[in-house]
Amino acid sequence: MSPSALDELIEALRCLPGVGPRSAHRMAYHLLQRDQPGAGRLARALERALAALRHCERCNTFSEETVCRRCSDPQRDAALLCVVEMPADLAMIEQTHAYSGLYYVLMGRLSPLDGMGPRELRLDKLLARATDGRVREVILATNFTNEGEATAHMISELLVPRGLKVSRLSRGVPVGGELEHTDSGTIAQALVERRSL
């Protein structure tokens, strides 16, 4: 193998998030030296995914069909739409078995200083999805970071005037959590957002 092919592989691996030059070297040597079948599988899987996957027309997550299986499941409550930042967030909510509505995956979050605005987030697509006439409530489950909050704010400003009920995931002391071991920022916000019983 010519060194340039190796360099190219290392350089290509660096496109992964959190992979610097050192990790890219380690991965490349591992794939070539220790796990050639694994490397072949990875190459084929990447190629297949690139060719087959697209964004589901309704929830925007990756899907092989135009409309993904979750979105075409008649058991799901089409009146509820939960908005999350990434597919990993969707997976976490699914794990709870506490939600039977549908989803919309933004594939990102608002971040003005990085140039991520409503246009980059394709909020027009979410607007069209949420106003399909069947959705009654939109649950904003973006992260509790400043970016997640800003995203939730923009979406609510967009949807409330269109007559939709918009709710936000609540936040506070975790289940089974003790105040003694909870960080002060969380406790402070839990106090601000306390609810009457």
């Binding site: 959190g18 990085d114 140039g115 605005g117 400043n146 800003a150 923009m154 920022g185 916000q189």
Partner: protein
């Protein structure tokens, strides 16, 4: 500067942060006594990192760092509390303030008065109903602190005090001059507006509107004509 120094318990705010290497973060911090400082927060992106909930923008922190290069190493960051999280529109305004600071202030150029103006603006944003006066006050404080010498209460041509009843044209890098026959010019501002601005009073409707246009022109000029991302985002949002 190659002297390794250690700074302790420095009042600071996170302005912006972005991922660095596998698990770290580069944080642009606004500190009270050292101005804007970039530092690496090692391991801050690990799932269980204690820094995760602390290195949030718009929250008062106390920070320790060390190092003599351009990018320091964050040693410790403590959340100070006492300020509710920014929400909704105030949050979008906060991003605007941060972008102004990142784009206009130089690294390690200390401006304690600018730090105080920023802290006061955030505290007001967290409480106030209308963000506009807060933004105008901060924009003006920023330009003045950075040394752009924004003259407001003296006619730059005649040297006479600005007359509340007259109209003025604001010449960038020079100051207000009597508008005379150009009083109907869309860019003319009233003397009353200039005097309000000089006193930091932005509650009057005309002052608010004219000072917004004037400060926008000044900021655009000192940014070298480069547009602000946070303003574009806000505009796109309003058009949706």
């Amino acid at each position: 500067m190659s002297i390794r120094q250690r700074i302790e318990q420095q009042p600071s705010f996170v302005l912006h942060s972005y991922p660095w290497r596998e698990t770290s973060l580069i944080v642009e911090m606004l500190s009270r006594d050292h101005g804007r400082v970039a530092m690496v927060a090692k391991g801050a992106r690990r799932p269980m990192s204690a820094l995760r909930g602390v290195l949030m923008a718009f929250q008062p922190l106390r920070v320790d760092w060390s190092g003599g290069g351009e990018v320091k190493t964050l040693v410790r960051a403590e959340w100070q509390g006492g300020q509710p999280l920014l929400q909704g529109r105030a949050l979008l305004c906060g991003y605007y303030l941060n972008e102004l600071l990142v784009r206009l202030s130089a690294r390690e150029d200390p401006h304690p008065a600018l730090f105080e103006a920023y802290a006061a603006a955030l505290a007001e944003l967290a409480r106030a109903r209308s963000p506009s006066p807060v933004l105008r006050r901060f924009e003006l404080a920023l330009l003045r602190e950075l040394g752009y010498g924004i003259g407001l209460d003296v006619d730059a041509d005649s040297g006479e005090p600005v007359d509340a009843g007259a109209h003025y044209l604001y010449i960038i890098e020079k100051g207000p001059v009597a508008a005379g026959a150009d009083a109907a010019d869309a860019r003319a501002v009233s003397g009353r507006t200039l005097l309000d601005m000089a006193r930091g009073e932005f509650e009057r409707a005309e002052t608010l509107q004219q000072s917004r246009d004037l400060l926008r022109r000044l900021i655009h000029h000192y940014l070298g004509g480069q547009p602000l991302e946070s303003r574009r985002v806000l505009k796109e949002f309003q058009e949706l």
